[in-house]
Amino acid sequence: MYISFTDRGRQGGSATRRAGKVSSVVVTLGVVSLLTDISSESVASILPLYITGALGLSTIAYGFIDGIYQGVSAVVRIGGGWASDHADRPKWVAFGGYAVSALAKVALLFASGFAAVAAVITVDRLGKGIRTAPRDALITVNSDPQMLGRSFGVHRMLDTVGAALGPLIAFLILFFVPTGYQLVFVVSLACALLGVCLLGLLVPGRRPRRERVALGEVPVPFRWRGLNQPRMRRIVLAAGVFALLTVGDGFIYLVLQARSPFAALWFPLLYVGTNVAFFVFAVPLGRLADRFGRARVFVLGHTALLAAYACAALPVGGAIVTVACLVLLGVFYAATDGVLAALAAQFAPRDSTASGIAAAQTVVAVGRLLGATGFGVLWFAAGREAAVLIVAAALAVAIPLLYLLLRPLSSAEAASTAEPIEPAQ
């Protein structure tokens, strides 16, 4: 359970660095996320079946549940980040978030009927919203600042393993016992509880602000205004614009499905391909971000998204194009998800790490929601392929512009590799 990833390959490269090792705390946090993702994804993947097959409801209701599922977490995320910074206790705020989700899994065992299931899912997502930013702040405080990208890469890789294992375990159970929903819920609960316990027992309850005060630094009291400084503004703006141009995997899968018999055949499983690519590329791209610049990798990662759009809209639709599209989507997530957290952590004011991360992630969540809605309208107005091409064209314009916008950050990153980063005041 307690693994550390030693990187033997490149120790000669920079003699001043500590041995290339990702902190065991980060790995533990990754394992906690893995277990929690098994817990929530196993339930999420069978939820449509459970609601239609076992509860006998049509999925109109399901669409409603799913809306709650996605919307709730973005709203409470900012609150989780603020609480974490304000109390200077990222571990216990994250713990609270994980615990809320675990309790929701207990309730799921007794929930019957649509309203109960909807309530349980909402509570589960609330927990996710609360924990994400403090958890990412914990990764930050437990990482060598120069390897932040890699730390997040390792965490997101483990997280993705959980997201892939969850549906697998759930469907394996249903394969053996076709009505074994309750079994899935029990396994989900066990994984959620173990995740909470491992976090509570193995992750040190560090207090970043107090530690810095002990080292003689003057604490920076938390102010929302503190987040409104030039570099954070650039990060949030770039992340927001990109999020608006991210139409959502679901739509890309639908375009592929309509064009390629291969994609139509495998439609329910396309997300697996994206997850596998995310898993494979999370660590290499995190490392690349540390070396080549996080801002650069974040911006250039969107070229993978651009290429995925191109694949989806291309007039050829064979198996290879479909697979290429899924791989590109995975690369896009690997180059942007953890890297954005690392970038926000790096440039957030010293004592507002969690709030800074929360701000960037909330902008992304809200931006993607708007982006998907806007794309729906565009799809309606312009047609399927044209809509994808329009968004692709906008993205092609945005990438170089946002590259320029984030260029000051790249030079700040380069300067900071010599000494620990001092965020701008």
Binding site: M1, T52, D66, F175, Q182, L201, F251, P268
Partner: protein
């Protein structure tokens, strides 16, 4: 607590929780298999006839070895012993020698399919479905087949509720997805991207059919024309239509709830008088109704407290009387008249 104690405790909890969950699963699986073995009966390969009489083909939901298998009973003796075939379906419909079977192909990588079954229960034609099976129908002469599934990938969030409905012909012609048809609402063509169609029922002329169409948050009973490839909205708020054997009435489900939650009632529309009768079953009925004869409706209602189990009930199409239990532990009924 020192670090060592914490690590030991974490290891112990890992073994306890993961081991406990695994043990619980293994015992449940063994339990399930034992129950399967003890209740196993001889299965006929084919979906059997009942001495030449009309029969009801349905999906058995008995919580034993027969769960999920296609079974049949004589229409005039529904509570007598059922004949159980060895074919697994999640939704089934049979008429005039044509049986369509929608299936969740369970496995580590779960997929979904629509199958036209040969007489021995093996699939003669297969179509991949983009999600969980929903509704299936066959025309009275057995030549046209319609099936609906949900469109469920992993990221439903950005798409919301979506269905796919396809009509095929047993001779091999594919009429395609209903979304490719022209939808006419209030006489105007509607090209909204959020159009969804589900729950087809066929008329006897092999061209007219009825279905549910939805766009912009409103559902419509639509009349389809296979030759003209059009769908015309004829009445809002009616879903999963089912045409009576004589073609004079349509039964459907409609949401009668006045609050935010959904409560489905079954209603019958007389096509000549345009008069609607709502059945007085107080339960929420979420099924595509089947006609036993011109006076009687059949539909499945989930059993409370039993996961994935349901019963088929019968009710008078004129709205009188009480609904009666028709076939226990059954769903997806179809009346084979051939």
């Amino acid at each position: 607590m020192n670090a060592r104690l914490r690590t030991t405790l974490a290891a112990a909890l890992s073994v306890l929780l993961l081991g406990g969950a695994a043990a619980y699963c293994v015992s449940a699986v063994l339990d399930y298999q034992a129950r399967q073995a003890s209740t196993a009966t001889t299965k006929s390969a084919s979906i059997g006839a009942h001495g030449g009489s009309e029969r009801i083909v349905f999906r058995s939901t008995t919580p034993d070895a027969d769960y999920g298998l296609v079974a049949s009973v004589a229409a005039n003796a529904p509570d007598e012993a059922r004949r159980v075939s060895s074919t697994v379906c999640d939704r089934v419909y049979s008429e005039a020698g044509t049986t369509v079977c929608l299936r969740i192909d369970r496995g580590i990588l779960t997929t979904f399919s629509a199958n036209l079954l040969a007489d021995d229960g093996t699939p003669a034609s297969v179509w991949a479905l983009p999600g969980i099976p929903s509704r299936a129908r066959v025309s009275n002469d057995g030549t046209l087949v319609a099936f609906t599934s949900f469109v469920t990938g992993e990221s439903y969030a950005s798409i919301g509720f979506s269905t796919a409905t396809r009509i095929v012909d047993t001779a091999g012609a594919d009429h395609g997805n209903l979304e490719e048809f022209t939808l006419l609402l209030d006489g105007e063509p509607n090209t909204a991207v959020d159009r969804n169609f589900w729950g087809v029922t066929f008329a006897d002329d092999d061209s007219t059919f009825y279905a549910t169409g939805a766009t912009g948050g409103t559902t419509w009973l639509v009349r389809g024309d296979l030759e003209a490839r059009t769908l015309t909205g004829i009445r809002p708020g009616a879903e999963c239509p089912s045409l009576s054997p004589d073609g004079s009435r349509i039964a459907y489900k409609k949401n009668v709830s006045t609050t935010g939650s959904v409560h489905w009632a079954v209603a019958v529309l007389d096509l000549t008088t345009n008069e609607e009768t709502v059945l007085n079953d107080p339960r929420s009925i979420d099924d595509q109704v089947e006609w036993l004869d011109d006076e009687t409706l059949l539909y499945a209602v989930p059993r409370s407290g039993a996961t994935g189990d349901s019963d088929v009930w019968s009710a008078s199409a004129s709205g009188g009387g009480e609904p009666a239990l028709f076939i226990e532990h059954a769903s997806s009924p179809s009346v084979v008249r051939e």
